[in-house]
C-alpha cells in the first residue's frame, strides 16, 4: 500500500485512538528551552511526577539570553535570570541533557536538534516552541506544543493529537540565482494566505525542493507555521541521508532511514503546485507573512488584499501606502537572525555579498549565528571578519532580535529588514516595523540603506 510520509510517521507512533478525530501518539524526544521549559518542569515537580525517560529530554538556553559579544547582561529580559536559573536547577535534579551557555553545542533549539542528530528521520519530536516544524525537513514529525502538553509528554511520553489532513505543495522549476528558500516560502504564503495550511501536515516537494540542501529545506519547514500548518515535512532522499550520516551523536549510524518518504502512488488530501521558475526575491510589506510581494513590485491597494481591514491596519502600522515601491523604503536596521535563516550556508551567502562592501552608515546591522557551532565554523572560515569589516555586529548564538530579546533594542517607528519569520506588530519591539526577507536581501539592504534586490550585487 502506498502511503505519504506523514501517514507513515503517524501510524508508526499511534498507540491508541482518543476520539474519531484524535489519536494518542508516542513522542520519541522532547526539547526544552529556558523560556518555556522551567514552568513545565516545576509543575511536574510540584505534583510529584517523574520524567518518564530523561535520556530523551534535551534543553538549551537560547530565547532570552543576551547575544551581544560576551553576553554582558546575561539576559536583559526582566526577570530572565530566574528562568535560566530554574532551568539549570531542574536539569540538575532530573538528569536531562542541557546545552548551557558554555557548551559549544548551545544554540537555537531547532538548530541544535538537527546538528546533534536529536531530530532524525522517522521520529516524533515536540518542543514548547511553534517553530519546531523546522525539523520536519529531516522526515520527522515535529511540532510545537504548549507548556501543559510538554508536561504531559515529559510525564507520559504520549500526546493526544488531532490528526491533520495531508497536503503537498510542489514547487516546479529551479529558482534563479539570488532567489532562495525564504523567497519560495514567502511566495507560497503570499499566494495561499497565512492560514492557507491550517489543519494540514504540509509536505514540500517538486524540483525546487529536490535541488535544495538541508539548510534551505529547514527554512521552508520553519515557515510552515507561518502558513498555519500543523507541521512541515520533506521526504527523505540522498540529501537528507548525507546530512543525517554526518556523525551526529544522537542519530544511530546503523539504521536505514531511506523509507521515510512519500510513496510515488500515495494520495494527499490536497495538492497544490506553484512554479518558482520566474520567482524574484520576496519581501513583506505588512504585519502578516502573507503580506509578501516581489521586491521589484509596489504595495497593493487595500482593496486588492485578502483581508482588507487587516491590510489597512498593517499599512498604518508599517507607515506604507499603496503604489509605493518596496525598494524606495529606507531602513534603520538589518538583522540576520532566527531559526529560519542563520545556518552556516545563510551566513556564507550573506558574507559573499558583503565581501568588500560596507553597510550604510545610518544602519544598525547585526548578525546572530543560530548556534555556537555555526558561529565557530563561520569564524574558522573567516566569515566573522567579513561581517565585521562590512560594519555588521557579530554576536553569540541565540534567538536575539527575532522576538525583541538578546539585548538589542530599536526605537518605536524604526524600520528593520530581518531574516526571521514573524513580522507581527511589536515582534521586534513596540512600534518597530519588520520586513521579512532572505539573508541575501537583508545583506543587500544593509549596504544601500533601503530595501534592495540582492541580484544587483551578484
Amino acid at each position: 500500500m502506498s502511503a505519504t510520509l506523514f501517514a507513515k510517521l503517524w501510524s508508526a507512533h499511534r498507540i491508541a485512538s482518543a476520539d474519531e478525530k484524535s489519536d494518542f501518539l508516542y513522542i520519541d524526544r522532547i526539547f526544552l528551552h529556558e523560556r518555556m521549559g522551567p514552568v513545565a518542569l516545576q509543575s511536574l515537580r510540584e505534583k510529584g511526577r517523574a520524567i518518564r525517560n530523561p535520556t530523551q529530554v534535551f534543553a538549551t538556553i537560547d530565547h532570552i539570553v543576551d547575544t551581544r559579544p560576551g553576553r554582558p547582561n546575561g539576559t536583559r529580559t526582566l526577570g530572565g535570570e530566574k528562568f535560566i536559573d530554574a532551568l539549570r536547577e531542574s536539569v540538575e535534579q532530573t538528569g536531562i541533557h542541557l546545552y548551557d551557555l558554555d557548551d559549544t553545542r548551545q544554540g537555537i533549539v531547532h538548530l541544535v536538534a538537527a546538528e546533534q542528530g536529536i531530530a532524525h528521520p522517522g521520529l516524533t519530536l515536540v518542543c514548547p516552541d511553534s517553530h519546531t516544524s523546522t525539523l520536519g525537513a529531516l522526515g520527522a514529525l515535529a511540532w510545537g506544543v504548549g507548556s501543559s502538553d510538554a508536561e504531559h509528554v515529559l510525564s507520559t511520553r504520549v500526546l493526544k493529537v488531532r490528526k491533520p489532513d495531508s497536503m503537498r505543495v510542489s514547487f516546479d522549476g529551479r529558482t534563479a540565482e539570488g532567489v532562495t528558500a525564504k523567497d519560495v516560502v514567502l511566495y507560497m504564503i503570499g499566494s495561499f494566505g497565512a492560514s492557507g495550511g491550517k489543519g494540514y501536515a504540509v509536505e514540500f516537494a517538486g524540483e525546487a525542493v529536490q535541488g535544495m540542501g538541508m539548510p534551505e529545506r529547514f527554512t521552508l519547514c520553519n515557515m510552515a507555521v507561518e502558513f498555519a500548518a500543523f507541521c512541515g515535512l520533506v521526504s527523505v532522499d540522498e540529501t537528507t541521508l548525507d546530512y543525517v550520516g554526518q556523525n551526529r551523536p544522537f542519530t544511530p549510524s546503523e539504521v536505514d532511514f531511506g523509507h521515510w518518504s512519500t510513496d510515488s502512488e500515495a494520495v494527499f488530501d490536497r495538492e497544490e503546485t506553484l512554479s518558482v521558475r520566474n520567482l524574484t526575491p520576496m519581501v513583506t510589506w505588512g504585519t502578516s507573512p502573507e503580506h509578501a510581494l516581489g521586491i521589484q513590485e509596489v504595495i497593493p491597494a487595500v482593496a486588492d488584499c485578502r483581508n482588507t481591514s487587516l491590510a489597512q491596519r498593517a499599512m498604518d502600522y508599517m507607515a506604507v501606502r499603496p503604489k509605493q515601491a518596496m525598494q524606495d523604503l529606507r531602513i534603520d536596521a538589518a538583522f540576520l537572525v532566527s531559526c529560519t535563516n542563520t545556518r552556516l550556508e545563510d551566513l556564507r551567502k550573506a558574507a559573499h555579498l558583503l565581501k568588500g562592501r560596507r553597510v550604510n552608515k545610518n544602519i544598525q546591522a547585526v548578525c546572530v549565528p543560530g548556534s555556537t557551532q555555526t558561529r565557530l565554523q563561520a569564524e574558522e572560515e573567516g566569515l566573522d571578519q567579513i561581517f565585521r569589516s562590512a560594519g555588521f555586529e557579530w554576536h553569540e548564538a541565540g534567538c536575539g532580535m527575532c522576538f525583541y530579546a538578546g539585548g538589542d533594542t530599536l526605537a518605536a517607528g524604526s524600520r528593520a529588514i530581518s531574516s526571521s519569520n514573524r513580522n507581527f506588530e511589536g515582534r521586534q519591539g513596540p512600534g518597530v516595523r519588520t520586513h521579512l526577507a532572505s539573508p541575501l536581501t537583508v545583506a543587500a539592504s544593509a549596504v544601500t540603506g533601503r530595501i534592495t534586490d540582492p541580484r544587483e550585487f551578484l
Binding site: 518555556m36 504520549v158 493526544k160
Partner: protein, 209 residues
C-alpha cells in the same frame, strides 16, 4: 482543574482576525516561572499606556460595562503565533471561562483545553453577530454557554450551536487532570508500545552518550 458545564455572563467583543499570543500577553510581562498572576498583563500592549501602570481608557477591556466579562468573542485565527501558554493562563487568571471565535491557533486551542478554558468554534457570521450584540448593549447582553449541548443562548432566546472535538469536550466537562486521564485510559498501551519499541528502536530507550 475546574470542570466546565454551563457558564453565563457578560461577553467582551474583541472581534479581530489574527490576534496573536504576543498581543494577548507580551513577552516582557512574563517575569516569573509561574502560571499564576498573569491576568494583570492580559492584552498589556493595548490595555495600558507604556509603562504598564496607566490604563488606556478607550480599550474595550477597561470599560466599566465589561468589568465582569467572562466570555470573549474573538475573530478568526484567535491565539495564533507562538506556543506561549501564558496567553491562556492570562485569560483564565483574568476570569475568562470561554472564548467564542470562528477559529483558533492550533497550539492555543490545545492550551485552552489543558487549562479548562473553553474554545467554542462558531461561524464567521455568528461571531460577528455575537460581537455586535455585545458591543451594542453590553450589560444586558448576557450569554449562556452550555458545553454539554454545545449551545450558546442569547438574551433574545436565540440559540447558536458551536463545535468542539468530542475528546476535548469530555476533558473540559470532567475537569480532570489531563495526565491522570491519559494514564488511566492508555497507560497499558504505552507500556505495550515501549516493550515492542525497545527491540525495534533500542537507541530511543538508552543513552547514547
Amino acid at each position: 482543574m475546574r470542570p466546565f458545564t454551563v457558564v453565563s455572563g457578560v461577553a467582551l467583543p474583541f472581534y479581530q482576525a489574527n490576534v496573536d499570543t504576543d498581543a494577548i500577553i507580551p513577552s516582557r510581562a512574563i517575569r516569573e516561572v509561574s502560571k499564576q498572576g498573569l491576568g494583570r498583563f492580559l492584552f498589556a500592549n493595548l490595555r495600558y499606556l507604556p509603562g504598564d501602570e496607566i490604563v488606556h481608557p478607550d480599550f474595550v477591556l477597561n470599560r466599566p460595562e465589561y468589568a465582569e466579562a467572562c466570555i470573549l468573542i474573538g475573530g478568526s485565527n484567535f491565539g495564533c503565533g507562538s506556543s506561549r501558554e501564558h496567553a491562556v493562563w492570562a485569560l483564565a487568571d483574568y476570569g475568562f471561562r470561554a472564548i467564542i471565535a470562528p477559529g483558533f491557533g492550533a497550539i492555543f486551542f490545545r492550551n485552552c483545553i489543558n487549562n479548562g478554558l473553553l474554545p467554542a468554534q462558531v461561524t464567521e457570521a455568528q461571531a460577528q453577530e455575537l460581537a455586535e450584540g455585545a458591543r451594542k448593549e453590553p450589560i444586558k447582553y448576557q450569554l449562556t454557554v452550555n458545553l454539554k449541548t454545545q449551545e450558546i443562548a442569547l438574551p433574545s432566546k436565540k440559540v447558536i450551536p458551536f463545535s468542539i472535538d468530542a475528546d476535548a469536550q469530555q476533558q473540559l466537562l470532567r475537569g480532570a487532570d489531563p495526565i491522570d486521564m491519559t494514564l488511566e485510559t492508555v497507560g497499558e498501551d504505552i507500556l505495550a508500545f515501549e516493550q515492542k519499541d525497545r527491540k525495534n528502536r533500542p537507541w530511543l530507550h538508552s543513552n547514547p552518550e
